[in-house]
Each structure stands twice: as C-alpha cells, then as structure tokens.
Subunit: 463 residues, 2 copies
C-alpha cells in the first residue's frame, strides 16, 4: 500500500507541473490570500484575547463542575460574538469526580508536610487518613517485577522523574506510574500509592491527572507529590531508616453529568458539507486556569477560523472548530463526537488539534493520501516564513481526533515546542502569565495556513 | 573624619611598602595558606552537605515551633560533629505566632480560588471568614494618599509588583505594602488587606513575611496572594465590575517562647578573645525548608570556619560562627546577641553575615578604619580568582549584625547575586533543589578568604 501511495504521489507531482494556466492563476491568487491572512494572524492579538477571556471569566473548568457548564456557555457566546455562521452544542455524558481536601506528611524519621494532590478518580482515604510505612520503587516497572506481598500494608512511593524534551516524549514512559500505579501497588498489597508528579519543573506544585482502577483489583487512594517533595523523600530514604507517611484524601466519585461539545462553523463557499476540523478541549484540570492545557488550543483555533471567516474570499469547504468536552478524564467528548458523526466521516476531509500548550510551532506533518501532496507542499511553502518545517506524511491525530482518525479521516500535526509544557501541565501554575501572546499569534497563523489550504484544495483531501 | 581616614590610608599604603622582610615572608606564607584553603573550599561539598542535612533532617523551622527547637539541637550537634573548639547556646525569648488554615476566593464577578498565605502575626478573620467588596490600590503610597473612609467595610488589595535586580534593591520599595499595609488599610476603614506577594516569580506560591500593627489602629487580617493570582485580580478589575472576595485566616498569636542562638568557635592561636563573626540565621519561614533563607548562610559560614579550623596554621584570632535565632520575626536573636555581648564589643573585630540566598558572590565591600586597608587589598587579591571584585569601604552589616555594627564593630559585605532570590524568598519553593553546590562552594571559599585574613591580620581590624 505504501509503495502505491508513493508512486501516486510521484505521478501527481509530475502532473501538477502540467496544470492549466487558469489553475495556476487560481493558485497564485490563493497563495496571495493565504499569505496575507497568515501575516494578519501573526499581527493579531485575537487568540490571546480569547484566552484571556476564558481564563479570567471562567477559570478552572474541570469536567462536571459548575465551571464546566460556565465554559460551555462561554464557548457558545464567544463563537456567536466572533460571528461564526453556525454555533451549536452536542451532549457528552460521563461520571464525575469531586476533589475535596488532600494532605500528606512524613511522620518519621523527620516530620515534613508534603505538597500533594489527589489523582483524578482516586478513592478517598478513611476520614482519619492512612498512616503507614512507605516502600520506595524507582519505577513502575520495578514495582511490577517485585515479589508478591512486598508492599503489604504499606504506602508505595514511585520516584521516577519525567525527562524534558521539546516534543514531550518523556511523558509516555513516566505517566504509566500515574495511570497504573494504584493497580500495581494494590497487587503487591499496598494501602495507597503516592507518586512523584509527572512533570519537569522544580516547584512545590503537584501535577494531577487521571489514574485508573482495574476490575477485581482493590481500589486504593492515589496521589502525586511535587518534584521537590519527591527529592526530599529520596534524601530521607538515603538515610536507611523506616519512613512513615500520613495521607488524607477526601475526593470521591460524583454523579453522572452531561456536558457539551461546543461547535462553531465558518461555512464553505462551494462544498459546505465537507469540513476541515480544528479545535482543542474546553475542559481543564481544576488546579490552574487551564491556560496552556488547553485554553491555548481553544483560543488558537477559534481565532484562526475567525480570521479565515472574515477573509474576502471564503475557502470552498467549511471550517469547523470543535471545543471538546472532558478530554482530561478520558476523551469523553471526542468519543461522543465520533459517535454522533459516524455517518458523516466521509465529509470530515482532514483535521488538526491544538493540545500541547502555547509554545511556537516548529514543524508539521501530514497523514494524507499521496495524491494530496501538492496541497501539503503549498502548505510547507506558506508555513516556512513562520519558522515551520515540513517533516513527513506520518502524522498522528491530536488526542481528541483519535475517534475520527480511526474512522478514516486524514490528519495533520502542527508540532508545538513543548519544552516547558510539562512544567505547567495539570498544576496550579497553568495560568495566563505563562503564555506569550506572540507565540499564540504564530500558532494562529499556522492554523490559518493549514485550515485555509485544506478547506480550499482543488482535490478533496483524504487518507 | 573621612578626609583623615583617607590620609591615614594613604600613609599606611606608603608604609606598607616599607615593611620588613620577615613581615613580607610572613605575608607570602599567609597568602599561600589562604589561597590553598580557598581552593580547597572551592572543591569542597561541605556546605552543601550541611545544607542537605538541615533541610532534610529539620526542614522548615519557624521561630517558636517544635522545629525551632529541633534546629537548635541540630546546630549544636553539627558544630560538635565538625570539631568546633567551643559550642554553646544563648537564650532568645519572643512572642510566637501560629499558622493554621488560610483560604481566599473571588466570589464575584467570577469565582476563583486564590493561592494566598497569611502574613506573619496577622490576626485571624472571624471563623466564618470575611466576605466583602475589594478596593484596589496600585501602591501603598496610593492607599496612604487616598481619602478617609475610602475603604470602609472593604478588603484592600495592593497590586504593586516587586522589580527584579541582582542586588535585590526592588525589595525595599515593595515590602512597605507587606509591613504597613494592614495599618494603612485600617486607617481608611478596611476590614482586611490582601497584597500581591513581595516576590519576583510567576508561580502560584504566595510569599509570607512579617507585617506590623500600630498602637491605636484597628488590627485587621493580612494576607498575600501569588503573583499569578494578583495578575488575575487586575484582569478582573479591568472589567469594571464590583469585585467581592471571601477571606478566611485562622492563624493567631501564640505563647512566649525561648529559643537559642547557637554559637561555635574555632579558637584563635594568638588572641583567642578577639573574634571575627560570621554566620546566618537558623530560623526560617514555615512554607519551605529554608534552603536559601537562610540555610545557605548557615551552611556556608559553618563550612568556612570548619575549613579554617582544620588548616595547619590557625589564624591569630578566633572565628565565631553565630546561628541567629528568630531573624524572620524581628531580628530577635541578633538583638539578644548584641545585648549579651555588649561588654565585649571591643573584641568583635569585624564580621560578615550570609543572608541573601545561595547565588555566587560577585563583589565585596568593607567598612573598616582607613589603616586596615592593607588587609582589604590582600583580601581583594585573593577574592579575584573567585570572580569577586572589591567595591568600596561603605559596607553595611547583614541584618543580624546591626546590633554589633551599631555598637561600633567594623563589617564586611560579601555580595551575592540575588537575581533569583526573591523568586523563592518566604515561599514553599525555598527548597534544596534550588541551590547549586558549586555556588555554595564559591561562597564558602570567599568566606574562608575573608575570615582567615581578618582573623589573622597584623593589625586588629576596627572601624
């Protein structure tokens, strides 16, 4: 299949050089329009203004909280205020989790308060807390390989530190401790698990995030401590004395709740049913105001569509901005979207999600049929002045585009510099002051180029 | 007086060039010894090990808490373990303040939890908290100049942000809001004051620190919010709607307590009663582990004295390391030391305190009689390889040396790069991971040079 694709791509490139004069003139005109819109986006403060509005007027918006409903209302009103042609919501139903108080301290051999946070969907401790000896594992793999019963009656501490990379590749290997730590610790007899936060910073602000239980394995409380607290724990363990911790978590499961995906469209001029999907997720964790995760993605894609929508020449196809509900607790909005639009996937020509913070975009990749390469090349040419290089045709979808990608939609990946992303991710520090307006503008410009050219391509993009 | 001093200095420099051969040989030998000790300190991890011990085994040590007593015990044991010739404690008595829970939220026009901390010695709010409209002032000066009754029944918010400088000169102008905010707000009728933290960082970690009430002015609760929270407040105020806040502080005054200055000496070989004073303060605020404020000063000066004490050739005079009690809540240990040693000030030949974090030293200044300049020049020569320049003869004392300075003791100031100091100062983020071992070693090397040469000078240093 790959060979055929490559051959077709080659043929196409040859054919494209034989394009008619009228098509050439059209292309020249389109390039001019897109370059102008790109530069307009680059000089625009719109994305920052949208983000400022969301983080100030709504703030944290954890799925199922009153701020979730407020964010949906905000999304609808903002789309309308920006003059989107169509604005609507689609229901997304899920189980909720309610955060209450959380505290931990080292009781022996030295007393220390720890800065911790409960992991999403952790069960609570008993009201009086859990006081137990702590057993330390460097990694989740070490815990899995340890003997049965090794953690009987103990609190498991996993200390692996996430590594910093521009593309965030340190996250995958580290996050296993968060998602599966409680299950693996319980398998070894533990009464609770406390991990080093999955984050690259050195601040006393723990990182929350989802954890999972497994049918048939005892559900034990799970929390994360800040990096400096984990460093302290290691120094205490180095002294070779038994370490005792007291842990109190009161968070618990809540009732079922229905939130909404919020959708806004700028209608295409020739093929209004065919659409290019851009967006981010509207929910955030509750500790910060969700500026980089994922207010930035919401703001960038809303601004890009608005700038295209206001252009003198509308692209042929529709640009649909989807603000997904409840990404954080399991891509629930994305799955609902995939289900609701299962019969319309053929009209979802391509898409890109912005959900990796607010750093500048340095590269992009595509995942399209070989005969779509001319539009990719055009894109590359118009992205270049933004400092963005084309990488390859192996793009994966953003988290919320998995369901439509799995249903066959082509995707693009606009790669943000995430060097600092995991300093802020899921912490109280995820606030507007961390976002540089000029980076948001560069992102918006890149989404303008991507969305306009994808929506306006002569040939309908496919995978 | 200044002219005479300068003349004497000039004469001395002339005389010094006529020094006898034996004195010259002595000086050469001394230079060799000090250079060797300096380089030994530069390669030593001792200060870092001391700091690691203090922050791990004691941690936060706010005056009057159980950790205060633990720190005193730690200080005595550490001096003894390091082989100091004399180790003792001197009582320091003061009123205490007990931190309990603290919370604040913006209630209207948008709901937001704020990350705040009570200021030291703030009175509590009523149990049910205070809910009131917020009135915003850019600066404490604006508040002072405002009309009577302007804040009647309101919570005053002061938003001035501290500026970042290498020498920390942004602190003085900004800290007035913290120390006098409650008094000035109460004068205008306010029910509470909440300031932007006195700090240069952008993290959700508020900075605590002392505030003061004034006889005859109503005592109102006082707190500080983190910088990102203050930024958010300003954005909310920009919308022009009334802002309501709820504030709950439960901290309160506690009983009188007696802590101790902890003192260790390396006895001089010729004039054991004459001493050079180095040190820092042993107490810290309670939010972090007091690594940079002032564990670093404790560690640097203990290590420097230890390295000198172990040298083959002891300096003529004694090196006294003083770990002052309760600096944070009013230089209480320093005042007690000044009082206890009032009759011995003549034997305090000179001193330098380390209490500005753990950044590298880039300059030093002296405040000595003009005929002491030869030792200052010798010092400058031996400091230079550490990247330290001599500035002038106008040094002020470190905070804890004010009482002995006021009694006439000469002082030196070893100036640390404090660019990042107020990112951490009085926050939960003041932890060991912020300290670079190589910077502590450079500081130790500088204190070795200063203390050895001061203690060993031919002429007794005076002011």
């Amino acid at each position: 299949m790959k060979h055929i694709k490559r051959f077709l791509g080659f043929t196409c490139i040859a054919l494209c050089s034989l394009q008619s004069f009228s098509s050439f003139a059209y292309s020249e005109e389109e390039t001019k329009i897109v370059a102008q819109l790109r530069d307009q986006a680059l000089g625009s403060n719109l994305a920052y203004e949208i983000l400022e509005s969301l983080t100030t007027e709504v703030g944290p918006r954890m799925a199922g909280t009153p701020q979730d409903a407020l964010a949906v209302k905000w999304g609808v009103e903002k789309f309308k205020a920006l003059g989107f042609d169509k604005v609507w919501t689609e229901p997304v139903t899920f189980d909720t989790w309610i955060r209450k108080s959380e505290a931990a301290e080292i009781v022996a051999p030295f007393k220390h308060q720890l800065n911790i946070t409960a992991l999403g969907f952790s069960v609570p401790t008993p009201d009086e807390g859990i006081e137990a000896e702590v057993i330390h594992f460097n990694t989740i793999e070490d815990l899995i390989e340890a003997e049965e019963g090794i953690a009987d009656g103990k609190i498991v501490f996993i200390s692996r530190k996430m590594e910093r990379f521009r593309d965030g590749k340190g996250y995958g290997p580290a996050v296993k401790a968060r998602s599966t730590g409680a299950v693996e610790a319980a398998r070894k007899g533990a009464v609770a698990v406390v991990i080093r936060s999955i984050g690259t910073d050195s601040h006393r602000l723990p990182h929350t995030g989802m954890m999972r239980y497994k049918e048939g394995i005892k559900q034990i409380p799970a929390a994360a401590m800040s990096n400096p607290d984990a460093d302290l724990m290691l120094r205490i363990f180095e002294r070779g004395k038994p370490v005792t911790m007291k842990l109190s978590l009161n968070s618990h499961a809540g009732p079922e709740y229905t939130s909404h995906n919020v959708i806004g469209e700028m209608t295409g001029s020739e093929f209004p049913d065919e659409k290019v999907i851009i967006g981010g997720h509207l929910d955030s964790w509750d500790l910060g105001t969700g500026a980089v995760d994922d207010g930035a993605g919401v703001a960038i894609t809303m601004a890009a569509a608005k700038i295209i929508g206001d252009a003198k020449v509308r692209p042929k196809r529709t640009i649909r901005v989807v603000l997904f509900a409840n990404e954080e607790q399991g891509l629930v909005g994305a799955k609902a979207y995939g289900k609701a639009h299962a019969n319309d996937i053929a009209n979802h020509v391509t898409g890109a999600e912005s959900d990796f913070g607010a750093g500048p975009i340095y590269a992009f990749s595509s995942n399209v049929a070989a005969d779509n390469m001319p539009v990719v090349h055009k894109m590359a040419k118009l992205m270049k002045p933004l400092g963005i290089e084309y990488v390859d045709n192996n793009a994966g979808p953003g988290p919320d585009l998995w369901p439509v990608y799995n249903a066959g939609m082509s995707v693009f990946s606009l790669k943000q510099d995430g060097t600092d992303y995991f300093d802020l991710h899921h912490t109280a520090d995820d606030t507007l002051d961390k976002v540089k307006p000029e980076n948001l503008a560069q992102n918006t410009a890149a989404y303008v180029v991507f969305a306009y050219l994808s929506a306006n391509s002569e040939q309908k993009i496919s995978r």
